[in-house]
Symmetry: C2
Subunit: 320 residues, 2 copies
């Protein structure tokens, strides 16, 4: 195997994370910079180029010591021409050309991929995915995103939306989603979804609960607060968490029933609730899965945390 | 492209279908024999060998004029050692070795695949699938089966159950399924499922309906009868068909929301109800799909009928 290195770049709305990795996926250096979304985000790509060049100089490394740069980005990626559209959190109004521009600016070949898919690839390669050929990754953050790896390849689908499992319909009579339909997984199992369910259930709850008292008092709560209270057996918080886990289990079980992945991996902020969350989701999944799936598909918590993005981005680079 | 030919074999519980095809998928000859399941099905593989050899002789063809034989079979296929297990409708009690035995008996290389996956590959290659890279195929027969093609490859999953979408849970409080859980798509949208729904709804139905009268009279009905009556606006039949199509639309929309295939294709006996069925399923799907999916995934009726199996089996053969 080559001694050359990989560069993984995880472009987010707040920070841009960088790492230099071996071809085996070990991180040797990492750093990050703020994402400057001023001037329609036109400074972002020059900033990425400058930061890479600056660090290579600092580490006394040359472009030809690298196989490539992998970049995970928000937005819809056009793989043919290497452009990105619709990355609204970066203020990009028009198509941008990261592949062309970063290759030119660094002298290193660039491969790009959607950020949720990159996190999925990272967890698959070096995290909970154990490098399995079939992995479904769901990230429970502000929204619910995901990525599907089947036969060892990330799926894009006909319109680039494969793996966007946040918009699987869980409850046809449920909450309205920003996507325009009702009862999407994202309206329930995202960080904002958990809080929405809490407020909804609180309005009809009459028992004794600290969560209820906090909400009635007009205080802000977070998904973490809800899970923390549920861990302390707060009655309303338990009702909320049970509904969230049941809904998540239903959606993930049906994806598992269709795809029979080796692992379903839960990541993102809400997954910080850990085994308390995954045990409940697992129980719900098993209720809705048929025998072969129960025997061959397992639920796991993501293990890479913040590094999933840079590792997954680096995994995009084809190493001969 | 080579002038050599392909042989597709579709092994079913009642008949074994054979075809000789060009590498472009055109059928040049086809025939079929009865499946002899006596003697624990031990005569099936010898019968396949004899029938191929007999027909090659009849057409004055030699083994070296063929690239390979593709075989679609019920049961669970072990791709490593070329064996099949659990094909209960063929009376096979133990593992059988079709790859080894048919290669030896004909002198032609053999590739095998699950029967539902083979039908999916056939529809994808020469039928409604338009040779797209991402196709979900669902077959509504005695049961509900299916196959998923993603990135141009059939998916097997970790336990070989990828694409078995008949056991997606549609209604957690629904009918008990043979698989042991409740509300599987198969309990509603298979031929037997449609009849089950009809009987269930009839028991609580009080209006005027020929379907109700037929059932109350103790007559047997088929899924086709229910769809035929619904087409004539029979009130109870419409209630049944609406529930079946709504359930199917919900399940298929969520698969589409996860995988974003180019086409979702409905085949099998129940799909003979044609556009009447697919229009209703399409309307339900669109209700449960988010915008990108509505714009890039389309529902279609299967177009190959009985030939999907032999064509899909032939497509298993790698042509250089």
């Amino acid at each position: 195997m080559t001694d050359k290195k990989l560069i993984g770049v995880d472009l987010g709305g707040t920070t841009i994370k960088f790492a230099i990795l071996t071809v085996k996926g070990e991180i040797q250096q990492k750093w990050s910079i703020e994402t400057n979304i001023l001037s329609d985000g036109q400074l972002i790509i020059p900033d990425i180029i400058d930061s890479i060049n600056h660090h290579l100089k600092m580490y006394s490394m040359e472009a030809d010591q690298f196989v490539g740069i992998g970049l995970g980005s928000p937005g819809t990626i056009n793989f043919k021409d290497g452009t990105i559209k619709g990355a609204y959190n970066l203020n990009w109004q028009n198509s941008v050309y990261p592949v062309r521009d970063i290759e030119k600016g660094t002298g290193i070949p660039v491969t790009i991929e959607n950020d949720a898919n990159v996190a999925a690839l990272g967890e698959r390669w070096m995290g909970a995915g154990n490098n399995a050929d079939d992995v479904v990754f769901v990230t429970l953050g502000t929204g619910v995103g995901g990525g599907i790896i089947a036969n060892g390849q990330i799926l894009h689908g006909a319109g680039g939306a494969a793996g966007e499992i946040g918009h699987v319909t869980v409850d046809p009579d449920g909450f309205m989603c920003t996507c325009g339909k009702r009862g999407c997984l994202e309206t329930i199992a995202s960080a904002t979804g958990v809080v929405r369910v809490a407020r909804d259930r609180a309005s009809e709850y009459a028992g004794k609960s600290e969560l209820k008292a906090t909400l009635d008092d007009g205080q802000d709560i977070s998904a973490k607060d809800v899970f923390d209270l549920a861990k302390e057996n707060d009655d309303l918080a338990m009702i909320v968490v049970d509904y969230v886990c049941e809904s998540l289990g239903f959606a993930l079980a049906n994806i598992a029933n269709s795809l029979n992945p080796k692992y379903v991996i839960i990541g993102g902020g809400v997954s910080a609730a850990g085994k308390f969350l995954s045990d409940k989701v697992d129980a719900a999944m098993r209720k809705y899965e048929f025998a072969t799936i129960k025997a061959s598909t397992s639920l796991k918590l993501a293990s890479l945390g913040n590094e999933a993005g840079v590792i997954g981005a680096a995994s995009l680079i084809k190493v001969d």
